[in-house]
Amino acid sequence: MRLDLLTTLLFFFMLATFLGLDIIRRVSRLLHTPLMSLTNAISSIAVVGAIILAGEAKDPLTTTLGAIAVFASTTNLVSGYLITHRMLGMFKKRESK
């Protein structure tokens, strides 16, 4: 029964990886640094798991670990998006003189 779940999740992982490889190859080389900070921010999606742990109030250990995880992910989320935005704003074409 658990095998069923494992294969479903592995399917998602496999498809998303192939999709990711394909999309990332098309990213402009100019933007590799902002790409990395953007993917950093995207991986802070871990906040979703941490939120539930911190909010379930099951026992103090879970709540504490969950809250620290929320903190770590939010830090990534906020700094990752803001710095990506900041860097992308610097890429300008030659201004017409």
Binding site: F12, T39, V47, V48, T62, S79
Partner: protein, 461 residues
């Protein structure tokens, strides 16, 4: 309620995919951030609706604290972006490790542990912990709190691999019998130590590759968390991040002509004994006046910036030079080597910050065929990426690495602080070539002088 959350997760995943697609060009890239932020808001909003959440107190406190710490981290100077990235990967790994640990003890006490869960929790905790310490180490090396030279000892690879094997072995034991809870903290400690050992032997020159690898691990930790929490959004977003790090690592390795295993275990740059080059040779040096004359009479100039330019904070002077030369009708381009800077694409960001239009930034592959027609190649703080030994000297550690063929230009001007070899500690033949003139000094001051000459000249006309 849970159904609503699941549907919102689908929207969020689609937006993440679109965001990465829009990174394909600088014109659409700003949309990418909007899409990714929306995706995150949708996902977090959906999660907050979850019926299992009974209190928002700790979530709110942690989120506010995270914002307070995160904001200043987004305002760092662009030269410090690699360190920030390493730190961010460490935080990502930490979050995964903590969630995995919390889930393990929760299931252990509630009796929900089975071998599937134990397997994925172990994977998450091992990946999370090694990313956490690895990211911190990388950030430390990039910020130069830790020596950037590779730190090696005998049997290093064996020790590291043994640690990892033991950690995986103990995880296997836990999968077989999840109640052997003594083994779990040991797995955590071993994975934390492994992360440190993984980065110690890697030299400063390999940091662009390492930072890409860690990106991949951070993504994989999120994937593992997705398996633990049976959350498909985490798997999709983590896989996108993981594949991004993977593609970037491959690009970096190719740009240095190294294999992945060689970067991780090769301790590049540790070979310091270069007794061969003992004879004293002299390089020809030039003054700012010579350089200004040479540049203003050139048809085309290719500027090759390296990290030395960023260290000297010379980007804005370079921009002035670009303006002066463009005004005289000189065709100025910037040739950026894929590993220039301390992380993938770093140099492009530094030049963009100095308002250099991005259509003037050209790739190594595109500029090399044109190099023999170029009047002046101006090398600013770059070293190994223009070292012709990569093409000619089979004994050189960088032999085979693709380089920008600066030496093929009619004249080479190289700005350098001194004749000391660069980051990787390798002698550069380019500086002794017949068509090379050296401009010794701080890049910012030297370019400032050249610009002064040029603008003085134009005022005199």
């Amino acid at each position: 309620m849970v159904a609503v959350t699941e549907f919102l997760y689908i929207i969020s995943a689609a937006l993440f995919v679109l965001a990465l697609r829009w990174m394909s060009s600088p014109e659409t890239a700003r949309r990418a951030v909007v899409a990714a932020v929306t995706a995150m808001i949708v996902a977090v909003g959906g999660t907050l609706l979850h019926p299992e959440i009974v209190t928002y107190k700790w979530i709110a406190i942690a989120a506010i604290a995270g914002t307070v710490v995160g904001y200043p981290l987004s305002r760092v100077p662009l030269t410090a972006v690699p360190e920030r990235t390493g730190l961010s990967q460490a935080f990502g790994g930490l979050a995964a490790a903590l969630v995995g640990t919390a889930k393990y003890y929760l299931w252990l006490h509630e009796g929900g542990l089975n071998s599937f869960r134990m397997g994925v929790v172990s994977g998450e905790v091992i990946l999370g912990c090694l990313t956490a310490t690895g990211g911190l180490m990388a950030a430390g090396k990039l910020a130069e709190y830790i020596p950037t030279r590779p730190l090696t000892y005998k049997g290093q690879n064996i020790v590291s691999i043994t640690l990892l094997v033991v950690a995986i072995g103990l995880s296997g034991l836990l999968v077989w019998d999840p109640t052997q809870s003594w083994a779990f903290p040991i797995v955590i400690v071993l994975a934390l130590i492994f992360g440190v050992l993984l980065i110690l032997p890697i030299g400063g020159a390999d940091m662009p590759t390492v930072i890409s690898f860690l990106n991949s691990y951070a993504g994989l930790s999120a994937v593992a968390m997705g398996f633990v929490l049976e959350n498909k959004l985490l798997i999709v977003a983590g896989a996108l991040d993981g594949s991004s790090g993977f593609v970037l690592s491959i690009i970096m390795c190719r740009a240095m002509n190294r294999s992945v295993t060689n970067v991780l275990f090769g301790a590049f740059g540790s070979v310091q004994a270069r007794a061969a080059v003992a004879e004293q040779r002299t390089a020809k040096s030039a003054t700012a006046v010579d350089a200004a004359e040479l540049l203003s009479n050139a048809d085309s100039v290719v500027i090759i910036p390296g990290y030395g330019m960023a260290v000297a904070q010379a980007q804005h002077r370079v921009r002035d030079l670009f303006d002066q030369l463009s005004k005289r009708g000189v065709d100025v381009k910037f040739a950026v080597h894929p590993v220039a800077g301390r992380m993938p694409g770093h140099m492009n960001v530094l030049l963009a910050e100095a308002d250099i239009p991005y259509d003037r930034l050209v790739e190594m592959e595109d500029v090399n065929p044109e190099m023999p027609q170029v009047s002046v190649a101006l090398v600013i703080g770059a070293n190994d990426v223009v070292n012709p030994a990569a093409r000619t000297d089979e004994k050189s550690p960088i032999y085979g690495m693709p380089i920008i063929d600066a030496d093929k230009a009619h004249t080479v001007l190289a700005i350098k602080r001194s004749m000391n070899p660069g980051f990787a500690g390798i002698e550069n033949e380019l500086y002794f070539a017949n068509n090379t003139l050296m401009l010794f000094g701080d890049a910012k001051a030297v370019i400032g002088d050249v610009v002064k000459q040029l603008s003085g000249e134009s005022a005199g006309h």
